[in-house]
Subunit: 380 residues, 2 copies
């Protein structure tokens, strides 16, 4: 049996740990999804999601992983054979490309080097060179590299070229500000298991009115992801298909907590969590992989001589802390610490304290992670 | 505030109530879906789902409503333009038709009158008249009408004509026997919120090896539902996309309970629940809508002069019991009592006792529902 006093900490970039109230609300008695009592819960979740998306637009929910809502955007917006642009800067950006290809788009995949943000000037060049593009797919906070993109600027560029922009904000919403309406972002997708500090299994998408018009045309096959079906049921306060009732309870509770904290405070907390994590890790000789670090997840390359994969393993086996390693060509070459959702400074102390031990044990040096983190937290 | 002593009973045909252990396991700490501890849980769920499907075939899981797994069958099996046959006998059978149409099949929709089962002889005629059909889509237990179909015979007929058969067993698995391997059923789909007595949000599908071969060809767009992706990740014990971790915990717990009860006993319990419900309701002058009643859900037409819609409302408002009414053209004309999942005879007493009161209050007569139910339970 595992030692119960090696407490388990989940600090991957999703799923994230659940606040006790969120965990517990799932044990509430099951409800019939067409019953008035559930319709009330469902309507409240839809309303509060709008607050977090910072939008007056309709928000739609799917019982699915985040990828499902990405697919809904592609299935409803992409005309087979249409030229679209995917602007990616990591593994999750590549998913847009795969989806557009699956739906028969003529896809231009413009890739930015891992670790760098997508440059608005570069997007401008791409769209100038490809004037036929009316749809741009991109990423807000790229989980694989710890990069956050400037969605305000990217949206401006896309609009200047007459294109709509659809954003994967699965890891970002609820951690980093993305005021959809203020910035005019056309389509925003998120999932439940990141900044919304809920279990995985709920995906949502919000479309501006003009983007909603675009879903009405001829498209490839769509059924479960058909936003027209979802919209048809919205006035009844119902979902097109049986919703994941207990997960809706969970998201509802999490959104209530976020409302009580206040979205500005939620964002400020994440800003400080990000700053603290970066400062602490750098004090130990780790290097930020991202040139534009997100406050949702921190990607770090190890000090010379320290094996990143061994650190992930030692954190888990010795300290009970689960973080993520690198993906694809960065496998074994970095670590990624998630701090979006139900985290506070104590959690950062825990992971940095353990990282200090592991770094030393595995051949690195450096100290003072906690102090550096606290200073950064205080001034961020 | 609602009176807490009008206890709430959920007796729709899904979602079904959860056993306390299933509710509570969702509050267990969140796990990283790539961590060894979760992979173990996930593998156990896949293994135990096979026991319930009564198959040695691979079972795949989606984070989705049951409809998602239906769509996966269509998206992976149907070649655009291909002639397929949908044999339906109610609202959920029609979903197969809508899905096949969405995916561009040349769909023959053979509809059996609501309340009647799909006759094997009729299927034989249909397939004789349409020798090009290589795929038949049909329903096991049709929730909208309370009908159960004879899948053994329907499968035999399909195979005799060289066609594969895909079955929507969303409401059926875990309640009524459907031994996939013994009967040679090619594709079986289910959801978590029916016989598996778990929350909605997990869908699964099981394909016989020869049906698995069929998914490899050219198809329309598929990504989230792509069974090739799901299969690729299976040897790692992982899902293609982030699984609904807390729902996997729930299904895992429910499957453990079913294993402890023993599948034969689970089926016997449902046989008795069905018999008891039918006998009790008939004692009150209600008529079985289904000519081939399923043991998962009982569809009933009211005695002369009694308004079915008013009964649904009174059961809810006076007795705290949520059942379902009729759908589509049967709206307001029938009631449907679900009894698949975590039910025993006490639950049937509760609903029948209340139904007796409502029937009388709303102009009917008849008595002795409980006694009739008990006798049927004892002899079924």
């Amino acid at each position: 049996m595992a030692n119960p006093y090696v407490k388990q900490y989940l600090m991957t970039a999703g799923p994230t740990p659940l606040p006790p109230a969120v965990s517990q609300v799932m044990a509430e008695p099951m409800m019939y999804h067409r019953a008035p009592a559930f319709i009330e819960v469902y309507a409240r979740v839809l309303r509060r999601l709008k607050d977090v998306f910072q939008t007056a637009n309709e928000v739609q929910i799917f019982a699915a992983s985040g990828t499902g809502a990405l697919e809904s955007a592609v299935a409803n917006l992409v005309k087979p054979g249409e030229q679209v642009l995917v602007a990616s800067c990591g593994k999750f950006g590549e998913r847009w490309f795969e989806l557009c290809e699956a739906y028969g788009a003529d896809t231009i995949h413009w890739e930015t080097e891992w670790g760098r943000r997508i440059e608005p000037a570069g997007l401008d060049e791409q769209l100038t060179a490809n004037p036929g593009v009316e749809l741009v797919f991109t990423t807000f906070s790229e989980t694989s590299t710890g990069v956050v993109n400037d969605l305000r600027e990217l949206t401006e560029v896309a609009h200047r070229h007459g294109a709509l922009i659809a954003v994967d904000a699965i890891s970002g919403i609820g951690a980093v500000p993305l005021p959809q309406d203020e910035w005019g972002v056309d389509v925003v997708v998120t999932g439940s298991q990141k900044g919304l500090m809920s279990p995985p299994g709920i995906a949502s998408v919000s479309l501006a009115p003009w983007a909603l018009d675009a879903i009405e045309g001829e498209r490839g096959p769509r059924f479960y992801w058909d936003l027209r079906k979802a919209r048809k049921n919205l006035p009844l306060g119902e979902s097109a298909f049986t919703p994941a009732v207990s997960l809706i309870f969970a998201v509802g509770e999490a959104l209530t907590m976020m409302r009580e904290e206040g979205l500005t405070n939620v964002h400020a907390r994440h800003r400080r969590l990000g700053a603290a994590t970066r400062a602490g890790a750098q004090a130990l000789g780790w290097t930020l992989f991202s040139k534009s670090p997100a406050d949702s997840v921190t990607a770090l390359e190890p000090p010379a001589g320290v094996d990143a994969g061994a650190v992930v393993k030692r954190l888990r086996d010795t300290h009970g802390i689960t973080i993520a390693g690198g993906q694809d060509h960065m496998k074994g070459k970095m670590i990624r610490i998630g701090h979006m959702g139900a985290y506070d400074l104590s959690d950062i102390y825990v992971v940095l304290g353990a990282l200090e031990e592991c770094t030393k044990a595995l051949g690195g040096k450096g100290t003072g992670a906690i102090e550096a983190a606290r200073r950064a937290w205080e001034t961020a």
